[in-house]
Amino acid sequence: MNFIKKYKVILLILIPVVILVLTRALDTNHFRTDAKKLAEPSFSGSNIIIPDKVNQLNGEKLLIILGKDVIKHDLAGVVIKIIPPDSILYKENIRLIRKHDGPVILCSAENDLAIRIWMLLSQMGIENLYILSDDSEPEVLKYEFRPDTTVKPEL
């Protein structure tokens, strides 16, 4: 009792800080620090995988189909799980992804969705995560711009 009385001010400030920090640190349902580092695979596109290369990944592969669409690729030796995108954050799904020992590959009929979910899960600290895409270089311009040399600037 005497101890509490003596250090009342210190405890009044420190205890709330410690509680807040601990709740934040132990809460797994939040994003990890340093967004840039977590997003790194997306800068080089190393998180995109084409169907032919899936077998080159080490470990047991888990393919998550976001949505109802049936997978069109013939992938052997891959565990397939269908998860509607809006329930990807359900506890059991997150636990399944986190617990899975090996690469997790996201796939959706619309590639945009898999890309967005990839970023979301990566920011939660999930690693070894890929996006299945038919196009290994989705950021290449397939057209060429031809300047019009007859254009005269308005002066």
């Binding site: 400030i13 420190l14 920090v21 620090t33 997306s42 890309i115 711009f145 300047p147 019009d148």
Partner: protein, 203 residues
């Protein structure tokens, strides 16, 4: 124990806590994952190239297009009125430009769908508002707007307006990007949005 000793202990203890925390000095997502998921699935977050073309053709000042390609690619050509934030520097630069800009809409685009959708999630994770993605990126822009041809015999009013809009935006795109570099630069400078800074200093 006097006040300064107490204050010293408090500061020192919090200092130790801070030293143990994984603070990095760089940005982290600040929203709840569940909220970000609803943003990621938001159908309204996509704009078509036709919508983007309309903003370009009407020179809508309440919309800003953000080009996520490298600065080299941006300088060769870009959609008129856009600013360049290379995707790999998006996390550092974007909040300074986007936050605090009121009701301005920001449309992200890159060559394909990949960088723009990644940047969209990052922007939403950093609590930036009014962010949209131009579906299909520049590939779709070229496909739909630049290569727009009408081949039928009769044209409906709706088709006509769509076609006119594409033609106008396409012509602007070609004209501005065909200007010599010096004039192009002048054009960009006039459009450049400078990152807002807080003035600082002490005493």
């Amino acid at each position: 124990m006097n006040t300064r000793e107490k204050l010293s202990i408090i500061l020192l203890s919090i200092g130790i806590i801070l030293a143990l925390l994984p603070l990095t000095g760089s940005r982290s997502f600040t929203v709840k994952p569940q909220n970000l998921l609803s943003d990621a699935l938001d159908e309204k977050s996509w704009v078509t190239v036709d919508q983007a073309a309309r903003f370009v053709a009407t020179e809508d000042s309440s919309v800003l297009l953000i080009d996520l390609r490298s600065s080299g690619e941006f300088n060769r050509f870009n959609i008129p009125g856009s600013v360049n934030i290379p995707y790999d520097r998006f996390i550092e630069i974007a909040p300074g430009i986007i936050s605090g800009s009121g009701n301005m809409k920001f449309i992200l685009y890159s060559n394909g769908d990949y960088d723009a959708n990644n940047a969209y999630v990052i922007a939403k994770g950093l609590k930036l508002k009014n962010i949209y993605v131009m579906k299909g990126g520049l590939n779709e822009w070229f496909n739909t707007v630049m290569n727009s041809r009408f081949t039928g015999e009769r044209i409906s009013a709706r088709e006509n307006s769509l076609y006119e809009n594409r033609k106008r935006a396409g012509t602007m795109f070609t004209e501005i990007n065909s200007l010599p570099d010096s004039l192009k630069r002048k054009y960009y400078e006039a459009k450049h949005v400078a990152a807002k800074k807080l003035d600082g200093g002490c005493e």
